[in-house]
Amino acid sequence: MDCRKVQELLIRSDLREETDTILDPEVQGHLEVCPSCRTFYKEFFQTLVRPFKEAGPVQPPESVWLKIKAAIEKEPQKRPAAEVLLDRFKAAWDRILGIMPKPVLGGVGLAAVFLIAALLIYVPKGSLNGKAYLGDQMLYLMGVSSEDLEFQAETESLGTAIEVVFLD
């Protein structure tokens, strides 16, 4: 096994202690006879294993939690959409009540009821009559045209002599 291959395998390995046994016996054997790779191995451990292994645990200061807690508490409470919608409707209704005096509001409400009732009663009725009228008109026109044609056929003779000769 050459030095390049050994060093590549060392880089890929996950040593936790300098005394860890290298799993590959071939690499282990090479290290015993190759000073260059032994130096590389030492450097590898010093650079890559020891500093990170010795890196102490780090805790955030308490102020971080206090900021997170404050940010959460500052947020509006989340509620169901229907509840939010109902509240908005109530707020709008309160605003209307605030703007209009109650008698005016009652009058407006009554007028609105009459208007809706009138629309419901009269508009569909009128539209039905209109439809019936149109239907009658169509039938009439169709009837007129066919009668006219028959009438034409019966009455279009000019009564000339030549017609009498040829048609009779």
């Binding site: 890929r12 500093p51 645990p57 805790q59 900021k67 959460i72």
Partner: protein, 188 residues
């Protein structure tokens, strides 16, 4: 409380807006969220901002969380996505703040000597991570510091497992080249 011990009940209560339950989640995962963010952006102010963003996302999306999958992996996914997006935004803005506050919130040690050693170790880690791309950095942080498996990394980063291996290998090669050049002086 370790993240693995978070019960489904706690997650459900938090999803309903129970702040006591949400605090339990925060205590279980804030360590790795902040740790990953800090190692990725190398700035405490940015890391704190990312941590806040991540927890607000967790809070708002808990009701959509599928309890079949691992909460830890899900939280890592949110953390990595938020952090990588933050890195991209920082790169665009070209308005990086100085890194002098990196270690301001490290665990306090009573012994000054120990504290100095800790600072030195953290400085070494930061100097090593600084030479990597954000994607390579994410791989190194997840593998070497957070000890995630390749499968977990592939899920968190939404990558093919072979892509994860390749990225990790390239990141390691880059770090070794950096060490060989003798640029890193902090205890290497």
């Amino acid at each position: 409380m370790p993240v693995e011990e978070l019960s489904e009940d706690v997650l459900k209560l938090a999803a309903q807006g129970d702040m006591t339950a949400f605090r339990k989640i925060y205590e279980a995962v804030s360590g790795f969220v902040y740790s990953v963010a800090l190692r990725m952006v190398r700035n405490t102010a940015d890391a704190q901002e990312i941590t806040q963003d991540v927890f607000l996302k967790i809070y708002h999306n808990l009701k959509n969380f599928q309890y079949r999958s691992s909460f830890k992996t899900w939280a890592y996914q949110i953390t990595l996505n938020t952090t990588l997006n933050y890195c991209k935004r920082l790169a665009r803005e070209r308005n990086r703040r100085t890194d002098d506050s990196v270690l301001a919130t490290q665990g306090v040690s009573p012994a000054v000597e120990e504290r100095m050693e800790q600072l030195s170790r953290e400085a070494t880690v930061q100097s090593l991570l600084a030479i990597l791309t954000p994607e390579q950095r994410a791989c190194i942080v997840l593998r070497e510091i957070e000890n995630l498996s390749y499968e977990e990394m592939a899920t968190v980063l939404r990558l093919n497992i072979n892509t994860v291996r390749t990225r990790l290998k390239r990141a390691r090669q880059r770090l070794i080249e950096y060490a060989k050049k003798g640029v890193a002086q902090h205890g290497l």
